[in-house]
Amino acid sequence: MRHIISVLVENEFGVLSRVAGLFSGRGFNIESLCVAESQDPTVSTMTIVTSGNDAIIEQVLKQLNKLINVIKVVDFKDLDYVSREMILVKVKAEERTREEILRMVEIFRGKIIDVSAKTYTLLITGDEEKLKAFLTLIKPLGIKELVRTGPIAIARGDKVIKVKEKHSEGGGEGNG
């Protein structure tokens, strides 16, 4: 089962390696990973696509939460959400196909962002299904290179995934 997981982390040096290391060290699978600063410059949002049975996903979520720099972990499976991914694709643009590519880009509401004598570079955004459909159609025309961001996701409606400020108490306590 495929899951999109949003991980809010401290926007600090080394956090990405902790998250990536957790996945590799425990044999969890990362299909894609997308990370950048959120509206709060101290917080980054990582969107991770992973897969596994319920027990594995439960461990993924718990282990992510256990990392000291991870502030919040959300599995979108439990939420109504929208997700989008962006792809850049360089396709062969020969005389007989240039028109067809243009039409398809228009149908899929994409853009041509670079042109050469022999190629078009296309930008398409959409959900997984739309991108899959587009790539299926464009493939016979000759894909020279494909780069994709992996999906990012956000909850629908008023629901906001945000940092809840809490304070750990200080020094003396714990079990020391």
Binding site: G14, I71, S168, G170, G171, G174, N175, G176
Partner: protein, 563 residues
């Protein structure tokens, strides 16, 4: 007034109440060592950095305080890795300070540079590279807090040399505020009530408890709950000492080398109450057939431990002590819920008692010197009042079986990682924490050679640690597996060049003894335990002896090979 990073380091340790540091110097530590030497902090200089971390670990396990070590960059830092991984697997609170090359040189493959934060990332609870000296005090404060709170663990702080010499404003933070780290101490009362209902309707309950009881200081509460409801108790290796080894409800250690009674109780139980234990494969045997008739309640402070290996019916995230207190309260309030339970529990106790009688821990006395006998004598001679460390292998298992641990923090052993070479430096650390206690490392002739250089530390700092070497001339546990599963082909396990341990002790200025016959055991041990010196006791035990019972790896707990 501004202070150097080295001064801030020492001031911060004082603010954390650190009284002892286990250390080894190098080029990158120079600024710190030069300040530390004028402080009141006791500096135990070891002979190898692995020894420093194990010693700080032994100090932490024995005392419950955070163990602290300091080493130099590069190889000094990489030598700590085994010690850190050992502490991580057993949830021991340590802060390891490694020094690093100058900030400007990081990443340049400078002399004695190693990316120790990267290397230790998977075996630390958390780690820091101090990139700005203004953060040093805050980082030290956080490191100690993270190490000892929640599920404890090792935290590494890497300090570049220039940070130790540059000047910064020093103000030690009063509070820690880590928004992303909020351990759950208080167990959910609804879940605890469900658990108590489940206990009330059980007929064959077993308390299965581990190192979490010791970490949380919950031994008294565990005894109280077990007695209140007459529940038999089995311990993991890490849990030994968490419940008195001579208690009528104690069935012993479970697992691969557990007692017949403990493994049969688990197998027959209808309700396992797991507290501060993590269902390690050495404890569970074949996972699919672990406690096949039982529902499982699992109390643990670390949510990732719950339902990791075994599916749990009632998870309770919280501190063992907190949860046990609530359980005791509910048991004492008993409004008749436990009536049927109390009427039937005697039957179950009779059954467990019968297992204990039918198949007690035993060994064959045949005139040769048996390692089990030596451990039984150590127990009798000390009346259990000693801090015992072990190495790993047969020595560890025989100690776990034949020494009755009466109190928490008296059995220090590398349970999770299984680190040979742990016991001796750990004993040194425990002796530093408790200078007047009798501290005994029960070792093998193989494992003692893994950190034997720490004899120098013990002699220099006048730490009268006793090392009882159960010398069978083999790496006994691996030899045992070869005997049972590899047609007695003893590849690599016969150490043909074992040193003369008495001469070795003498060379270091320690005391050395040999025991070759049963009759000598009491006489020599008594003298060795009272000589006030670091001591090696070379006990020539029967090399053929194996550890039983044994559940072969991958087999269910009920399939035990007995003596």
């Amino acid at each position: 007034m501004k202070k150097t990073g080295a001064q801030i380091f020492v001031e911060s340790l004082k603010m954390e109440g650190v009284d002892t540091i286990f250390c080894y110097p190098g080029g990158a530590t120079l600024n710190i060592t030069d300040v530390l030497t004028d402080s009141d902090i006791h500096q135990v200089v070891v002979r190898h950095e692995q020894g420093a971390v194990h010693a700080s670990d032994g100090y932490a396990r024995a005392s419950g305080r955070v163990g602290v070590s300091l080493v130099t960059s590069g190889p000094g830092a990489t030598n700590t890795v085994t010690g850190i991984a050992t502490a991580y697997m057993d949830s021991i609170p340590l802060v390891i300070f490694t020094c690093q090359v100058n900030t400007m040189l990081i990443g340049n493959d400078a002399f004695q540079e190693a990316d120790i934060v990267g290397i230790t990332r998977p075996c630390t609870k958390h780690s820091y590279l101090v990139r700005d000296g203004n953060d040093l005090a805050k980082i030290i404060k956080e490191a100690f807090y993270i190490a000892r709170s929640g599920r404890p663990g090792p935290v590494l702080v890497d300090i570049p040399k220039d940070v130790t010499s540059n000047l910064y404003e020093f103000k030690y933070p009063e509070k820690v505020n880590i928004r992303s780290y909020q351990p759950t101490y208080v167990g959910h009362i609804g879940q605890i009530k469900r658990a108590m209902k489940e206990i009330a309707s059980s007929r064959k309950p077993v308390l299965y408890t581990g190192g979490g009881i010791i970490a949380s200081g919950a031994s008294a509460e565990l005894v109280k709950l077990a007695e209140a409801l007459s529940i038999p108790v089995v311990n993991t290796l890490m849990g030994l000492g968490g419940f008195p080894g001579n208690h009528r409800l104690f069935l012993g250690m479970l697992g691969m080398h557990g007692t017949y009674a403990a493994n049969m109780a688990i197998t027959s139980s209808d309700l396992i109450i797991a507290i501060g234990a993590r269902f390690d494969d050495r404890a569970t045997g074949k996972v699919d057939e672990f406690a096949p008739h039982a529902k499982i309640i699992h109390v643990d402070i670390d949510p990732t431990s719950i339902s990791k290996n075994i599916k749990v019916d009632i998870p309770i995230v919280g501190d063992s002590k907190n949860v046990l207190q609530k359980m005791i309260h509910l048991a004492e309030q008993d409004g008749g819920d436990f009536k049927d339970y109390r009427a039937s529990i005697g039957e179950w106790l009779k059954e467990t008692e019968q297992w204990r009688k039918d198949y007690p821990l035993t060994y064959v006395r045949n005139g040769t010197l048996k390692p089990q006998y030596v451990i039984e004598r150590i127990y009798e001679l000390t009346k259990g009042k000693a801090i015992i460390t072990t190495e790993v292998g047969q020595n560890q298992m025989w100690t776990a079986q034949f020494f009755k641990f009466l109190k928490p923090r008296t059995f220090l052993s590398s349970g999770g990682l299984g680190t040979m070479g742990f016991g001796f430096p750990a004993a040194i650390g425990a002796q530093v924490a408790y200078p007047k206690s009798l501290v005994i490392d029960i070792a093998g002739d193989g494992s003692i050679q893994m950190n034997i250089q720490e004899l120098g530390t013990a002699v220099q700092f006048k730490l009268p640690v006793k090392v009882v070497i159960l010398n069978n001339g083999h790496l006994g546990m691996v030899r045992q597996w070869q005997e049972l599963f590899y047609e007695k082909r003893y590849t690599w396990t016969c150490l043909e060049c074992t040193p003369d341990f008495v001469k070795l002790a003498d060379a270091y200025g320690a005391a050395g003894y040999v025991i070759e016959r049963e009759d000598d055991v009491d006489v020599v041990l008594k003298e060795a335990f009272h000589n006030g010196m670091p001591t090696l006791i070379d006990v020539k035990v029967n090399p053929e002896e194996s550890v039983y019972p044994m559940v072969p790896a991958g087999a269910p707990l009920r399939e035990m090979l007995l003596v």
